[in-house]
């Protein structure tokens, strides 16, 4: 799919409820240390959902150029910090690369809800001339891509994918397409930060958030007591480049992107099944792999009983009941929407590097019909070469990505 060129992941940057920095995040995931707690960004008392995965101790002015702070939402600030880590990690000097051959493609979902809420408050409390000019560039879904492009001088074919929780895989799919047609390096992945009253109320409208007021008992994917999911903020920025460019730069890579597929669920009244099974099959075909080549599946893990069952059925249909190890470290962070699938990819890449499949904290009893080999304590399998990451976004977005060792 890339003119014979391998696509390599060469840099990771993580800003997550589990930790700031890829290593801090990985250590927390291994230890099963949850980042879910009572919301502190605002007083959640009047709301039916009071728990979320917040990024702790992130002060924008410490992490982001000061001039950029007043014109960006927290979601973009998290991404700028994560991109700094990812680019350092990749050891790349972007100024030495042709500016039109380096690009940014991020995943976005909520956009600048916190920034926007403040401007709406200015509007309603004071009037139109009180809305700050930066609202024009802070809220919209492409702001992170734009700010990264400007900051790092990346003038290649930049863009943004909005597929809610699936977008992080779609952004990498797009990055792969670009690397097949003249782009040398892509800064990809994504973040989200919608833990403000306006953001939370928007999320509540899906009806899929859990109202269980217990950080350990609220988000239990595939469990008999599944009651929905919890939201979180953060994500991961991922540097991808062709093998040729990486070798030329003399940099080590984490993993290879072996295959990718995307689809969209049919309307509920059509009687057709959800897209996930076919997307898994097409991703395997794209990678030229068979189901038994896959060593672990990082599940979408919606936590909503019907969606859990649909995912479990799709996985079982392809891999056989309990036919592959399945895990979802995202119970430690909540679902991160625009940042969620990107963080899953970062975690999967780290799992491959360390040879350890992290566990799924929370679920203790599988729901009927969920015939999965769910990893509930960390495993060091004999073989951890190929990982599949699944992601489904609100409304029907569905994507799958396959990662291999280098």
């Amino acid at each position: 799919m890339t003119n014979g060129q391998e696509v390599l992941i060469t840099g990771l940057g993580v800003v997550a409820p589990t930790g700031v920095g890829a290593d801090a995040h990985w250590q927390a995931v291994l230890a099963g240390k949850s980042g879910i707690a009572r919301i502190t960004h605002f007083d959640p008392t009047p709301y039916p959902v009071r728990l979320a995965g917040e990024v702790k101790g992130f002060v924008a002015t410490d992490r982001v150029p000061r001039r950029v702070v007043p014109e960006t939402d927290r979601w973009t600030q998290l991404a700028l910090a994560a991109a700094g880590e990812a680019l350092d990690d990749a050891g790349v000097d972007l100024s030495a690369m042709p500016e039109y051959e380096i690009a940014v493609v991020t995943s976005s979902s909520s956009g600048g809800t916190d920034f926007g809420q403040h401007q709406m408050q200015n509007l309603y409390q004071n009037g139109p001339s009180w809305v700050g000019v930066y609202q024009s560039i802070a809220w919209f879904y492409a702001a992170t891509t734009g700010q990264l492009s400007i900051r790092h001088g990346m003038r290649g074919p930049c863009g943004v994918l909005c597929g809610e929780q699936a977008g992080g895989l779609d952004a990498l799919g797009q990055a792969r397409r670009l690397l097949a047609s003249g782009t040398r390096l892509v800064v990809s992945g994504g973040t989200d930060a919608s833990l403000c009253p306006y953001g939370l109320v928007a999320q509540l409208s899906s009806g899929e958030l859990s109202a269980v007021d217990d950080p350990v008992g609220a988000y239990l994917p595939f469990d008999v007591d599944a009651s929905g999911y919890l939201p979180g903020e953060g994500g991961a920025i991922i540097v991808v480049e062709t093998a040729a460019v990486a070798h030329e730069r003399g940099t080590e890579a984490y993993s290879r992107v072996l295959g990718y597929a995307a689809g969209f669920d049919p309307r509920p009244d059509t009687g057709r099944p959800p897209a996930l099974r076919r997307v898994i099959e097409r991703a395997l075909k794209d990678a030229n792999l068979r189901p038994d080549d896959v060593d672990v599946v990082f599940a979408d893990a919606a936590g909503v009983p019907a969606r859990d069952l649909a995912e479990a059925q799709a996985i079982s249909a392809v891999f056989g009941p309990r036919g592959v190890a399945v895990t979802a470290p995202k119970t430690l962070t909540g679902r991160l929407y625009g940042g969620g699938a990107a963080l899953d990819v970062a975690t999967a890449v780290l799992a491959q590097r360390h040879g350890i499949v992290p566990s799924t904290a929370g679920p203790t009893r599988l729901a009927p019909g969920c015939e999965l080999d769910l990893v509930t304590s960390p495993r060091q399998p004999a073989r951890l070469r190929t990982a599949m990451v699944l992601a489904r976004g609100h409304g029907g977005f569905t994507a799958a990505l396959l990662l291999g060792r280098v």
Binding site: R66, P70, W130
Partner: protein, 83 residues
Amino acid sequence: MSTFTLDDLRELLRRADEHADLDGDIANTQFVELGYDSLAVLEIASEIQRRFGVVVPDDAVLAMPTPAKAVEFINALFARCGA
């Protein structure tokens, strides 16, 4: 408020960026060289609008490439509005 001075403008510029270097002779330095892009200048124009109750037209940014031009423009605006 009858005249708007360069020091008044400095105060607004500092509000937008407290670390900016505005102490020297900045009157004829392009805003963009001082680190203020067109959106930053528009934001300063909006602040003037809010503070002094004058209507600042949207294309004011084009008339204000430097601090000196900005001060001139704002004083002309005040004179027209009787501020």
